[in-house]
Amino acid sequence: MTTALTQGLERIPDQIGYLVISEEGVLASAGELENDEHTAGVIMQMVRTACRFRLHGTAEPPFKRMSVMFEDYVYAVTISGQKVFVVKRQNNQREPVIV
């Protein structure tokens, strides 16, 4: 079952690590996020908080993916079937910064 979850994550372009987290704990981890329970904990808290946002009193959270952006890499997070999927991807966008 874990391979079904992780197969798709492995194939994500420029991914350098991933986590699959459930309510009980980390189900799978790889790459730079291998065994990274600390990051898993922080991201769980962040995504729980984000899920409480609502737009104009709608019933569901107003987003499909949460991105935590750093200079060189991004954590992309989503939830499906009671599991949180996190993938660490390289941020290769090199646009000139307008000053």
């Binding site: 798709g8 952006m69 009671q82």
Partner: protein, 159 residues
């Protein structure tokens, strides 16, 4: 206790001694009982005034919040214990209902998690725009301040 009015009792010795010097303002209000009438109304007007003053004083004391008072209004020991018991019972009930609350289940954001995560990342232009908007909002919020027009605490004095 009362007696029927009769013109005979009006001129009795008792009435001469306690006849009021000023007309009694409560004459029309209090039901009269013949010879007792004048004595009662003089005494009752004095106690009424006293009672009225006491009521005004009590009402003021209840409504005024005295921020300079260090000692709280004295409460009897049993009343204090009663209240303490009441509050702790209420707290017990509340804490029971709180601990029974189950954590909110995770909502499902997508049925295609791999697709969602593999999609294009947020562009730099978008990130910069959001950062700028957030900076403006922060600046605006930090400029909120209280415009104090009056003193918050005043001396309560009778001029």
């Amino acid at each position: 206790m009362g007696c029927c009015f009769s013109s005979d009792s009006e001129t009795s010795q008792q009435n001469e001694e306690v006849k009021p010097l000023i007309p009694d303002p409560n004459l029309n209000k209090i039901p009269t009982n013949g010879s007792d009438r004048n004595a009662d109304s003089l005494l009752s007007s004095r106690t009424d005034e006293q009672a009225l003053l006491t009521t005004i004083l009590q009402r003021t004391a209840l409504n005024i919040i005295d921020v300079s008072a260090v000692d709280s209004q004295g409460m009897e020991q049993h009343e204090y214990m009663d209240r303490a018991r009441q509050y702790s019972t209420k707290l017990e009930v509340l804490s029971r209902t709180l601990s029974q609350k189950k954590p909110v289940p995770l909502p499902s954001l997508s049925s295609q998690p791999h697709q969602v995560l593999a999609a294009d990342l947020v562009s730099n232009a978008d990130v910069q725009q959001v950062s700028k908007i957030a900076a403006y909002a922060y600046s605006a919020i930090s400029q909120i301040k209280v415009d104090a027009k009056e003193e918050l605490v005043v001396q309560f004095a009778i001029p």
